[in-house]
């Protein structure tokens, strides 16, 4: 039976070999998505691209958040400087900017803030489609944490590099592996600030609708109109977007436009109480109470709807207007 000390040595040796093996095999799990790209480059995406026109704002002090945001906002046609964005996203006591505030600030400038799915594929797809992507990286090592926003503006896969507007660098070239290592720690957080008439390459119907609605609620109703219009071109059957666009027209007094949108939506959803009601109200405002009444009565038949109270009001109003006209 070996001495306890010898046992201890063997155990240490085993632990060392084990750690080494884990370290070597660990490369794949270190940068799993970069490894996955070796096997499957996203279909239809060019191997190299660079958005050279994207502006550059060198970062001041700790303000990489405002600098990154200004980069994509100006690219999306907003007239803004990092200094103006400091008031919207910078938190002095944290010497930095929170992710949610980055999204919220874009909305306040009438741009659709769209968080990407946490995938390298989606990041590359967006850049290839011409959309610079804000990413959150942790550029610290080990226990040191150093959160940093940068903007991905291109990549060259054969050369193994991504190109970023980052801090003081106008064009930081960084290997895919290193980039993923720093990006992974933010759970692959990335966002776009889209001009309202454009739709991200990786947008999903529900997530992009939510992004538009969030922008509309944040205060810029005017920007919501082209956003809903573009959305409906892509997903013409969406009820909420149809109602959203029609409501924008209605609020501006463009009743004919509102009516046209609602009719198209109704064709896809003949039983939607909200569409029936809003179309009835719009037609009644246009003086076409007979058509309006027929629609309101169709809506009334669905008494279980959450909008039943509104339908009753609309119905009563139409009857009242008809009585007055006779």
């Amino acid at each position: 039976m070996p001495e306890p000390v010898a046992w201890c040595r063997i155990a240490r040796l085993r632990a060392g070999v084990f750690a080494l093996l884990v370290g070597l095999s660990g490369c794949a799990s270190f940068v799993p998505q970069t490894m996955a790209l070796r096997d499957a480059w996203p279909a239809g995406v060019a191997l190299k691209t660079e958005l050279g026109e994207v502006p550059f704002f060198p970062q001041q002090d700790y303000q990489c958040g405002p600098a990154a945001l200004a980069t994509t906002l100006v690219d999306a046609g907003v007239d803004v400087t990092p200094e103006e964005l400091v008031a919207l996203v910078y938190a002095p006591a944290r010497q930095g900017s929170l992710q949610i505030e980055m999204l919220a600030a874009a909305r306040r400038h009438g741009r659709v803030a769209y968080p990407l799915a946490p995938r390298f594929d989606d990041l590359l797809r967006e850049v290839a489609a011409g959309n610079p992507v804000i990413v959150l990286q942790d550029t610290g090592l080990g226990p040191m944490v150093n959160w940093h926003y940068a903007v991905v503006i291109g990549f060259d896969y054969p050369a193994g590099e991504l190109y970023l507007r980052s801090g003081q660098s106008k064009r930081l070239a960084i290997p895919f592996t290193v980039f993923e290592y720093t990006w992974k720690k933010s759970h692959y957080w990335a966002m776009l600030t889209m001009a309202p008439g454009r739709i991200p390459a990786t947008a999903t119907e529900s997530a992009y609708l939510a992004a538009i609605a969030a922008m509309e609620r944040a205060g810029d109703g005017r920007a919501a109109m082209p956003a809903y219009a573009a959305f409906l071109e892509r997903w013409p059957e969406n009820v909420a977007a149809g109602i959203g666009l029609a409501n924008r027209h209605y609020a501006l007094g463009a009743l004919q436009d509102a009516q046209a949108v609602l009719r198209r939506t109704l064709a896809h959803h003949p039983d939607s109480v909200a569409v029936l009601n809003n179309l009835a109200q719009t037609l009644s405002d246009l003086g076409r109470n007979d058509e309006a009444l027929a629609l309101a009565e169709r809506a009334l038949q669905r008494s279980e709807s959450p909008f039943a109270a509104t339908v009753h009001e609309t119905h009563a109003l139409i009857l009242q207007r008809m009585g007055r006209n006779r």
Partner: protein
């Protein structure tokens, strides 16, 4: 005791209703927000909780050095889900700020890896 609690809940509800971002375009029209939230049930409880999360987040932002008005404006631009995520978590949430110096250290150590394999 009970009446004091009831009164407090009533106050919250009253404020919550006033603070509701729901606005029909006009009487008679179903609003866009109403359609969007019809699927996710907007109970009284969720309305009050959301109101509380929002005021908590405003307070937390003020604690980070913002003036009350801009803290309120910033929170107003967040969605209900976002406020729910952030409330109480602000000090733990990542704040991208980048001191800069650490990057250099990181790059030096990554240099070996850089030349070993880049993609």
């Amino acid at each position: 005791m009970k009446s004091a609690l009831t009164r407090m809940i009533c106050r919250f509800l009253a404020i919550a209703v006033m603070a509701l971002p729901f606005q029909g375009v006009q009487a008679g029209m179903v609003g866009t927000d109403q359609v969007n939230s019809a699927a996710s049930v907007q109970t009284d409880r969720s309305v009050v909780l959301n109101y509380l999360s929002r005021s908590q987040t405003v307070n937390e932002l003020q604690a980070l050095g913002l003036d009350p008005q801009s803290a309120r404006d910033r929170v107003a631009a967040m969605t209900d889900d976002e406020v729910g995520t952030l409330a109480g978590q602000i000090s733990a949430a990542p704040a991208g700020g980048d001191a800069g110096a650490v990057v250099v250290l990181a790059l030096v150590i990554f240099a070996i890896w850089y030349f070993a394999f880049r993609r």
